[in-house]
Assembly symmetry: C2
Homo-oligomer: 242 residues x 2
């Protein structure tokens, strides 16, 4: 009896996922953009983050595995950069993408402009929504995180990291755009390198930040659609500041 | 001796203001936009806000003076809408602008696109920067507020209110834009009517929200430049959502 109940539950889950995917396709088909439905990943709240480990290493005079800004000129080992996973993997920068795909099951999408549809925004913090984006000959990692920076007040933080060196990252500009309910919010910045720590980018607040009420205004039936576009930074730098 | 010291102090203040104004003109002259240097206004932290008074009136079954959404079809008295001032003035909607100019010394600027340069961003919360903007035959009130929504963590909130009814406000779209240090943040929305409470707009977070670190990244020498543009909402509504 228990077996049949579990089977029925699994079928219901599949129908639900299929419906969500269909709905996303339907909502955005008019714009002709590629939509990716991204399900949440529960964070390991009490696991020590790599930033903390890096900090400890720095205090002991050891080179930290992340949070270093210099370019990697020669092939060398880098730690797994998948946010909030305490993964012991280390490897060359060139094989980070295949590690993230194979071990952490992170999807990769092609295209200059895509829509990232994060589902189940109501889930409690900490929660991550992660996807890889292949564009202009490089791979980028988009991280949306729900986190309680101030206790009892969850916020959403979205940033984009280049799976490459900081020098390479400086060549690009990414744009995140929310558009719903007669409100529009756009964030443009240079992506950070995946060699830097996503935790510190988010704790510094140097990213797109949304409070819960604004996230609700921009979301539709518990899902938040973020339009993503990547360009080379020459376009950005040539524009005059305000 | 004291008289001479005070005179010297006043002259120094004038030179400082003149320098700030000159600097602002110099920074933005390339863009050919009108720049308005806006000095901060300290909020009356412990004064009861009109929202609280309105709430109390509602509980007692009396029509609140602010926070009502219906259009004012017939001339009627409205309370002073200058944020955070506990001003006892009441008057017709048509004379709110002259009251704000004369009593609260709020400047008014003409032009479709202006730059709002808020000085002394380091001042402790609560602090307001306020200006009126005359555009497309109407007057708008821009409020930038530094406030501690979470104790010890001041944030900046910027919104635009139409000095008119909610029905009139629905005809417009305002845009606030920050652009500095290879980062750009744009917020577009329909302005709220000044008959609604600016305090509730800010407490709901339905406006441009900046944490302190992001405000520092966008500011130059303690001043934050916000580009403002107002259009009729037909343009906004005709654009396809993401």
């Amino acid at each position: 009896m228990l077996f049949f109940t579990q089977c029925f539950g699994a079928v219901l889950d599949l129908i639900h996922l299929r419906f969500q995917h269909y709905k996303a396709k339907r909502v955005f088909s008019a714009a002709g953009q590629l939509v990716c439905v991204v399900n949440p990943t529960h964070s390991l709240k009490y696991a020590p983050t790599r930033c903390a480990a890096a900090q400890a290493s720095t205090e002991q005079g050891i080179l930290p595995p992340c949070h270093h800004h210099e370019a990697v000129h020669d092939p060398q080992l880098v730690p797994c950069t998948c946010p909030l996973f305490s993964c012991p993997w280390e490897g060359h920068l060139e094989v980070v993408v295949s590690h993230l795909r194979q071990t952490h099951r992170i999807n990769i999408l092609q295209g200059a402009e895509i829509v990232f549809l994060a589902t189940d925004m109501h889930l409690p913090a900490p929660t991550d929504w992660i996807i890889m984006h292949s564009c202009l000959g490089h791979q980028f990692l988009l991280v949306l995180r729900k986190q309680e920076k101030y206790e009892g007040h969850p916020q959403f933080f979205a940033t984009m990291m280049l799976i490459g060196t900081p020098t390479q990252a400086n060549n690009f500009t990414y744009r995140l755009e929310l558009n719903r309910n007669q409100r529009r919010l756009k964030w443009e910045a240079t992506p950070r390198s995946i060699l830097e720590c996503v935790d510190s980018v988010i704790s510094d607040g140097d990213c797109l930040v949304l409070n819960t009420s604004l996230a609700q205004l921009f979301s539709d039936n518990g899902s938040l659609a973020i339009g993503i576009a990547i360009t080379t930074s020459k376009v950005h730098s040539s524009e005059a500041e305000i």
